[in-house]
């Protein structure tokens, strides 16, 4: 890996789709009991209506934020996200482990102890070796898909290929040396660098225990052995239809996070978003006790919901830390000229963009790169104040200064699909907005399947394009560092520092903040750093998306944390 080992906290990003597909998060209405005032009871069947199937339902292959939504019903991990409404839900709490981990002094060694009485769905005991094995198998190329941190952080894991290859190869047959299991209850991780965010990582499904004897490789996904409140009783068409029922060996005594009220969970996917929302709003039959973990209300549905008080009461609003932005490649003319970038920033009509993204209820206009949540260190600022609809005059002035008195023609690259908000809808809104400032925008659509690879590779990166960034866990570091840390410019892999910005003062500040252990203090300085970088117009933040999710009329105990932004299915009751 060419990445600098000095970076202490490398974080994930842009994984929103992946995270959602994995069943990520949900956040809830700040008004927890919107469904009904009654107290939640056990029993009944919860139906989950989704677009994306729970495919690759294997803890090694999931890429989740905080353990995911549906996956966390089956997989318990060392730590997990707090299942609490709002900002309090951005905290890490113990799950299988007794605490969130004991770091060594320099945070390179992390030790966990398992709780007593932990059992799999078959009644056998969960051991620390199973957790080690679970992590090891995530290195197998057959089981690809998980987050990159294990390979990056664990000592000596760089070229490890998982237990299957290793078994065949006598030399490395011992597995990963950097994970120690001195006894059945203890597991120790040796990192190659200090990582204060390790407890956040330990929420990932790769930290779920996998009994070696039950491992069937790629077929494990059909029936992974449950450590959580539910076990898989049916898995059709690679997660298109998943039926979970209560795991008798799971107990609230060892799990204070998951409530698991329903007896059965029926996950139906492959549905059209319009159908999902229509079914939720109609709520006939089993749909009355249904939720969705991946489908937002569309703009048109929002317009409808607005006219119906009863429906409006069944909408959960949440925020997942995410920013959609215009990215510049400063190695490409004319975007090497700060004045040009500033002119574009001034000219931009954010109202059009927000409308294109679904209106002000689904997207909040952004002027900061950090999401508007305190956990990230959000500090409001606007380096190029041009009002909501842009300041064409100011933009023309800047263009003149930049040497383009007669206007400018540039190309905006975007995805062919609107699915991730990198698509033609946003692009045309930007295009139309810049028209007034004499900037002619040509649109260049890249096929969706190749879009992210195109924009996140130094070799193919266009000059001006639509991008977005989300964090794998709620913290300022993973949000800013990959984008603006000059040492994280990657030449042979996915590069997220699109501006290819390398400023030693910024790099030093990132290192300094990473040393802080006080999350609140760190957040403040992340906010300040964000403002400082923002002045350079390396990116133009467009908006932060808002999640509006409809749920069925029998749904109770709605919890939406700011970690995931969507309703947490482990807390929901249907009775």
């Amino acid at each position: 890996m060419s990445r600098s080992p000095r970076i202490s906290r490398r974080v994930a990003a842009a994984a929103v789709t992946v995270a959602l597909a994995g069943g990520a998060a949900a956040c809830g209405p700040k008004s927890g009991d919107a469904g009904a005032g009654a107290t939640p009871h056990s029993g009944g069947t919860l139906t989950i209506l989704n677009q994306d199937p729970q495919d690759k339902f294997d803890p090694a292959r999931e890429y989740t934020s905080g353990g995911g939504n549906v996956p966390s019903l089956v997989f318990r991990t060392l730590t997990t996200r707090a299942r609490i409404n709002g900002a309090a839900g951005t905290k890490v709490v113990p799950d299988l482990a007794t605490d969130t981990g004991t770091p060594s002094k320099d945070a390179t060694v992390w030790t966990y102890h398992l709780k007593d009485g932990l059992k799999y769905e078959d009644g056998s005991a969960i051991t620390s070796a199973d957790i080690k094995y679970g992590i090891e198998r995530s290195f197998a190329p057959e089981l690809s898909g998980g987050p990159p941190y294990f390979r990056d952080w664990l000592a000596g894991a760089q070229n490890y290929q998982g237990p299957y290859k290793a078994a065949a190869d006598a030399k490395t047959g011992k597995g990963l040396d950097s994970i120690e299991t001195p006894d059945d209850k203890t597991i120790v991780f040796h990192l190659n660098k200090p990582e204060g965010d390790f407890p956040y990582l330990a929420t990932a499904t790769q930290f779920a225990p996998v009994p070696k004897a039950k491992d069937t490789g790629v077929k494990y996904a059909e029936h992974p052995i449950s450590s959580g409140p539910y076990e898989v009783v049916r898995n059709e068409n690679d997660g298109t239809h998943l039926v979970l029922k209560r795991n008798p060996y799971w107990s609230t005594k060892t799990d204070d996070q998951r409530k698991a009220y329903p007896d059965t969970v029926d996950v139906q996917s492959g549905l059209d978003p319009a159908v999902i929302n229509q079914r939720l709003s109609t709520g006939s039959g089993a749909d009355a006790a249904a939720v969705t973990t991946d489908t937002n209300l569309g703009p048109s549905e929002l317009a409808q919901v607005g006219n119906d008080k009863q429906l409006a009461a069944r909408v959960g609003t949440g925020h997942f830390g995410y920013t959609d932005y215009l990215a510049f490649n400063t190695k490409v003319k004319p975007f090497d000229n700060p004045k040009v970038r500033e002119a574009i920033a001034y000219a931009l009509n954010r109202t059009s963009v927000v409308n294109a993204a679904g209106g002000s209820s689904l997207a909040e206009a952004a002027t900061t790169f950090l999401p508007n949540q305190s956990a990230f260190g959000y500090t409001p600022y606007d380096p190029f104040p041009a009002g909501r609809t842009g300041d064409p005059a100011k933009a023309r002035e800047l263009l003149k200064e930049a040497g383009y008195p007669d206007g400018l023609t540039i190309t905006l690259t975007h995805s062919s699909s609107n699915a991730d908000q990198y698509g033609p809808d946003i692009a045309t809104a930007v295009q139309d907005g810049l028209k007034a400032a004499g900037i002619t925008v040509k649109l260049n659509a890249v096929q969706d399947s190749g879009y992210k690879q195109t924009i996140h590779s130094i070799k193919t990166e266009p000059g001006f394009f639509l991008a977005g960034w989300g964090a794998d866990w709620p913290s300022g570091g993973p949000f800013l560092a990959p984008i603006f840390d000059g040492r994280q410019i990657v030449s042979d892999g996915s590069n997220f520092n699109s501006a290819q910005f390398n400023d030693s003062s910024v790099n030093d500040e990132i290192d300094a903040i990473n040393k802080l252990t006080d999350h609140a203090a760190a957040a403040k300085r992340w906010g300040a750093l964000d403002q400082k970088i923002g002045q350079q117009a390396l990116t133009i933040p467009l908006f932060h998306p808002v999640y509006k999710r409809l749920y069925g009329k029998d749904i109770r105990n709605v919890v939406i944390s700011d970690w995931t932004g969507v309703l947490d299915v482990s807390q929901v009751a249907v009775k």
Binding site: P299, S300, E301, L302, A303, T351, N355, S361, S416, A445
Partner: protein, 314 residues
């Protein structure tokens, strides 16, 4: 090739038959109107004072998802048919410019389909066993392809600089010539057994000459008939592709693109859905009706044979 008087007489005859069908006449007028609308799009929008790409942020209610402000999707003196939800772009302007794309792509792809289909069908019908076998199998497979999916894949690999309407024509055309080829091959197989083709061979004509002089004129009628049926289906194909998001490039509008954004607005802004749907419906219906009439006109047999028992007398 044929004499002007003969040709004129033929055309006049076909026109007479067409004229006698009131539905066909109406449909033809509708089509003509559509063509005029498409051609005069810049003029029409200039009269309205709008263009199809300008956003009007103030005409939509951002907080409720961008639904147009005002009744019937924001119909006003400035915006005759209202504005697009979310963007506030003028619906009338987008509709009339959309007509350009829909008609252009439909006609263009039909031309491509017919050209390839006739070439392949003729070659298969006139060629030796091997060639016929090869081409017929290829035709069958072409008919077997899930065209929509293939179009998506094809559209994906073409660089985005390539003009979209042309690409759409080519993709729809390249994937949709199977039917024409079949019709032409079947026709060729029948025709080539006819004595006048034998006579042409005896007269020393080469295959190419026979195809050109003897077969093409006779194949023209069924091909035109078939093409008339292809047209509406190509209109729908374009809409389907745009519906799936692989159609024209934004901010260009087409009916399919409008429909794809509109379908979710069924309840919140029905006007926005109905307009492109109606246009699409009217166009395909008109094409179908005219196509039917053309078939009847070109194949008077169908009409006259129903008069039973007049063999040798009529």
């Amino acid at each position: 090739m044929s004499s002007p008087t003969g040709l004129l007489a033929g055309v006049a005859q076909v026109w007479r038959r067409l004229r006698s069908q009131r539905a066909a006449l109406t449909a033809a007028i509708v089509l003509a109107a559509l063509v005029v609308i498409a051609l005069a799009a810049p003029l029409l929008t200039a009269i309205e004072g709008q263009d199809p790409t300008t956003y009007h942020d103030t005409l939509v209610n951002s907080a409720s998802g961008g639904v147009p402000i005002g009744s019937f999707g924001g119909v006003s003196a400035d915006h005759w048919l209202g504005v697009e939800p979310g963007t506030g772009r003028d619906v009338f302007a987008r509709l009339v410019y959309g007509a350009q794309i829909s008609l252009l792509v439909a006609v263009g792809s039909t031309v491509v389909q017919v050209l390839i289909g006739v070439a392949v069908g003729l070659a298969a019908g006139l060629g030796n066993r091997f060639l016929d076998h090869l081409l017929s199998s290829t035709t069958d497979v072409m008919l077997a392809l899930p065209t929509l999916v293939f179009s998506i894949a094809l559209m994906a690999v073409v660089p985005s600089g390539f003009p979209r309407p042309v690409l759409l024509m080519l993709v729809i055309g390249l994937l949709g010539w199977g039917g024409t080829a079949r019709v032409v091959r079947a026709q060729t197989l029948t025709l080539r057994e006819l004595d006048y083709v034998a006579a042409a061979r005896l007269g020393g004509s080469s295959r190419w000459r026979i195809a050109r002089r003897e077969l093409l004129p006779s194949i023209a009628a069924p091909v035109i008939t078939y093409a008339a049926l292809l047209l509406p289906s190509n209109v729908v194909s374009e809409a389907g592709l745009s519906f799936l998001g692989v159609g024209v490039k934004p901010p260009t509008s087409s009916w399919g693109q409008m429909l794809s954004t509109a379908t979710t607005w069924f309840r919140a802004d029905p006007t926005y859905v109905l307009l492109p749907a109606l246009m699409l419906f009217a166009t395909t219906l008109a094409f179908t009706v005219v196509g039917d009439a053309v078939r009847t006109a070109l194949d008077p047999r169908a009409a006259s044979r129903v008069r039973v028992g007049t063999k040798g007398a009529a």
